[in-house]
Symmetry: none
Subunit: 208 residues, 4 copies
């Protein structure tokens, strides 16, 4: 955008000194993660990421060959973390609906938890990037966890499990747009509420 928004003093502003070493990489990924999630891929500039990571823009290119690659890394690491979290959450649970609930809660927890990893879940099929396939494959693989959980669910005959999964994920992912920490609901509450909502499609529900 060609908008002169404010007066800046210099271009590459001296960042506050942070720890260096292999932490750097993680810091950059974390910063990029947050910024991509908040402002989108094209809405985030390399310089912003650099500033938030405590380096200058040029230095990023030592760690990542391109902005796109950074996105891939962020995506991958986020998905890896989410899978780990989700799988751990359902490991000891057996009842199908309970398993789904725990998965949902775990997903929301890491998504909203302000953790280093904050996935860009907006299906990147719309980005005109070259390596999108890789991203899509990663994401699909992650979502397959939920597909399996849903397969195990006793659902009404007219319920389409494909639509069910995507709608549910929509409800979960959309939370990044409205959840605000410090509000009435905790991160876990949000997950529980979605689980509660979603459970309605069950073929039958135990009478209370």
């Amino acid at each position: 955008m060609a908008k002169p928004k404010g007066r800046k003093k210099g271009s590459d502003e001296k960042p506050k000194l942070l720890r260096r070493g292999p932490d750097r990489r993680r810091q950059i990924v974390a910063a990029a993660s947050q910024l991509f999630a908040r402002k989108g891929f094209e809405g985030t500039s390399i310089r912003e990421i650099a500033a938030a990571s405590g380096v200058l823009s040029g230095s990023l290119y030592y760690h990542f060959p391109s902005k796109e690659d950074l996105l891939f890394t962020v995506h991958q690491e986020s998905l890896t973390a989410m899978r780990r979290e989700v799988e751990a959450a359902i490991a000891d649970v057996t009842e199908p609906w309970a398993r789904l609930e725990e998965a949902i809660v775990a997903h929301c927890r890491i998504l909203l938890g302000g953790s280093v990893t904050r996935a860009i879940l907006t299906p990147p099929r719309y980005y005109n990037l070259q390596g999108v396939r890789k991203l899509v494959r990663q994401r699909d693989e992650y979502e397959r966890i939920f597909a399996r959980l849903i397969d195990d669910l006793p659902l009404k005959a007219d319920c389409d499990r494909h639509a069910f999964r995507l709608s549910m994920l929509g409800a979960m992912n959309w939370t990044v747009f409205w959840f605000s920490a410090g509000g009435r609901l905790s991160v876990d509450d949000v997950g529980r509420q979605i689980a509660l909502m979603v459970r309605g499609a069950a073929l039958e529900r135990p009478r209370k």
Copy 2:
């Protein structure tokens, strides 16, 4: 000197696709609508919108003073259309769950229908635009329709109606990312499926 090269001097042949007049404005809004929805505000360039509208980039500025203003217009017109559609859909329905279902279907229909209007429902609180407040107000007003519908619903005591609404809207809005016309599910099917999913939070459901 600015010599228009693209205009042909042909005698009586009217330009076919690119009708002028107030249609232009609508065309531009439609194109912008689609592109904003697909690629995001910053991911869409004025030139793309112009090309999709059959004009050159400079011409947009005859109709809209800025890209931001175009976004506002798109937003406003989309929301207006959606409200009209949704209100019409529920006008003759009285049973609370049925009302909600019709509203959901109407929302999805216009969202996915390839119609001129395709709302950008991503809460724009993340854009660093100046006039975002206006957008947010518009959207909140629209969403209040759903708030009222949900108020009329008999829901379990532990169901938070606020979270319910936002999660449901998330499920609905997220469809723009995965729905593909020509697939197994029709636009209306998608809406029905979401209604089906969401209905689960009912305090009690008639035994079948």
Copy 3:
């Protein structure tokens, strides 16, 4: 400039209805005159001139083939008016210094008088326009009036009449940058003061 300054409603704003006919041309010249003088040639847009003249931008091209031509016309008419004024002012005066004083006052009067004509006296040799020569010739011809007046002056031997003329014109023309109507000094006062200065404002001078 690519600065989004404010939000505009439309591009070509409906101007208030003004009288048409041959007045139009004069109106346009007058408006252009003022704007060029205030904001410079490149700082003034055709649309501004149009708006100030009560027409839309396209209509200007009926009267003038180009912005440049409009500048030429403004220039010419201004100089013609100034010459007329100046020559009238000195017609009945004979004493050389008095003649110069009247010329200066007349020059300033028309320059500052808010009259329709307000010359752009900034030597246009700096514009990279094609027809600048014409402008320069016109201006030089006008300034020759002052050259002749100065020739008749009894000046010190070490006074360079060329530098004298140009410096004096500089003092006169620069007034457009600082004179403000309604201030302590009237338009005529300004002229008189300049005349006083060039004549020697010193209270007393040591006899040589």
Copy 4:
């Protein structure tokens, strides 16, 4: 992808004219200075300034956040230099008229000297810039030097010292429009002639 094509991979040959480092900044200011003075602020494009500085247009923004800021810098540095020069010139002079003469000569010298600094003295009140106040304040402060010099002058009772100062500055500043190096008059000659004029170039004056 932005591949720098203009850089050569030559081994030991240093770029000749285009030295980097803090010189760049000075070069840019110098180039902008000249161009602004000659063609005006809006008449000068960033690309021109860049070309004259030996860089590409984008590079300017590493050094200056905006064209406006560049103008401010040019203005400030020019005025600072002029004040220094002028104050040095009058330091050892005591007689009021002689002091004024030296100040005028110094002002013209630096204005016309082709030095790095060439002030834009055109009162920028007409620019529609945001920070004009700053510029005006800077300039007013500089001109106060002359106000004080004039205060010390024994002037006729009917001479308005305010108008005197502004007219004199007009004569001085206007020189940038007509002075051409290599002509009959040197830079210093121009200053002396103006001093002569304002002092009263009349050969003799009728005794009152």
